[in-house]
Symmetry: C2
Subunit: 329 residues, 2 copies
Amino acid sequence: MERAIQIVSTAKYLPEQTVTSEMLDEKLGLPPGWSYKSSRVRTRWFVTDETSSQMGAYAAEEALRRAGLAVEDIDCIISVSGTMEQPIPCHAALIHQRLTQGVPPVPAFDINSTCLSFITGLDLASHAIQAGQYHRVLFVASEIASIGLNWEQKKSSVLFGDGAAAVVVQKSAPESPARILASRMETYSQGADYTRIRGGGTRYHSRTNPPPEYFLFDMDGKAVYRMVARYLPGFVDRLLAQAGVGIDDLDLVIPHQASGIAMELMRKKLGIREEKYMTILEDHGNVIAASLPMALHEAVQQGRLARGSLVLMLGTSAGTSLGGVVLAY
Amino acid sequence: MERAIQIVSTAKYLPEQTVTSEMLDEKLGLPPGWSYKSSRVRTRWFVTDETSSQMGAYAAEEALRRAGLAVEDIDCIISVSGTMEQPIPCHAALIHQRLTQGVPPVPAFDINSTCLSFITGLDLASHAIQAGQYHRVLFVASEIASIGLNWEQKKSSVLFGDGAAAVVVQKSAPESPARILASRMETYSQGADYTRIRGGGTRYHSRTNPPPEYFLFDMDGKAVYRMVARYLPGFVDRLLAQAGVGIDDLDLVIPHQASGIAMELMRKKLGIREEKYMTILEDHGNVIAASLPMALHEAVQQGRLARGSLVLMLGTSAGTSLGGVVLAY
């Protein structure tokens, strides 16, 4: 289902504190090289005193600056983050407050499918842009993973980093090749318990003193990998068929930066050539829902996309969901 | 911006435990009648052991049954809840799991603008339905307010109840009058701190031991009321102008069931006749984002809507946001 949508600009924000894998080896009492070998992440960034909405607003300001736009040129702000700064109000309202102090009062709301939130948000909002409801939408994904890591689960805790990414999207000019060709999401909820943070919502509320580890990230990496390996190839076939393109037609594949070894296995399984596979994991870590728009930003920055380049953005998320969008940049 | 969208069926689920205002007067050591007089709520329901995703799935099953549909007839599940069961995965994935056990693997994701989530979700998803991406979408709002109430804040804590509502939406048949005429949202984020739960996200994480009341609902009711009174009349004028209808053309106004006194003041300020104003507050309380779809369900049940009836759904939310949709039922 085509939509004449154009990515206007992208930006990222990384907090100040660098955390190398050597630092984590030492912190966790692991042999030198273990954290890198397990995660393929050399460096990730952790917040010191930044809040998530601050990081999101910094990335948004930078995306606007790069496009030569002011905040008044935006008519909708959508948070596509997988973690929240606080349960109420929604994340986008807090970013709106940091960015605009309330003026103009453009709509602000959240779309959340954990790590796939940017794809879900872009997919849904593009219909509203195509229909003319919004002229120019600001997407912001801002994540603080570090506060919720369970250092007892070494394999997952060495994967993640903090940071934010922002993307401005508008309707394409008539002469532009930019468009969304197809989008798809599948949720295999038999895997809903494979990736979770249980505490902090209504089920395991602080007030009822659940075990402290309920408030920390918990992942059964092997179960997730088995599920993704089983369903992802068919999913990609269905998505590319919808778009009417073959895997070799793609100029670039931007995957969710989940984990180094899994990303590489998936690349081979899907038959994607290494030079067409965008990875930023090594110097960012897995930044939850900010990973996909941040990798898009890096692809733009590195000159790997020209107007009209055919791109597959593809990912997996807690849920367990698979999601992707095929677009002409 | 018209969209040929039809509400196919609606349902609600209320937990088993009835909590009357007399019970709250006694619990809080207040004079008999205080809780009712302050809130205009006689009865609300609180969960005992139901989880939010369970309540959501119960309401969804009932909505499907009423429409003579099976879960296979749905091709997207959207949670439009203002509270979450747990931070990861998203609420819709947990409802998907309860409802389908993963089969079929239709997309599941959350749209959140606190109490306006149903309006935001209906608005956005209706474009995707209109464009043909989804044939039939299930919206679920499921809320457990009770666990987060601060009984020291008597005025706000006597307002809320728990419960869930579900709505099935599809593209209208060509001969049907059902459609969305217009939608609008405005976020005045200078009021982002007026209504909040601070703890449970990345800013005030359990791990850092913030004050216990940070995990509880906190509202500056007077500040919210002043802001809403200032901006709502203009907002409604702009929304009705977009729809091309006047306030007297409306067959029914379904407001968010925020609080009895504020709802009545707003009704008068907007010049809406009492018999055209849908209230379910007295025997449900404010059920956060479930209030609007639950009031829609009650309007359908009470025979107050015929096909083609002109309806304004209108609300306010934490953020502070105003939102509304004008539809022909």
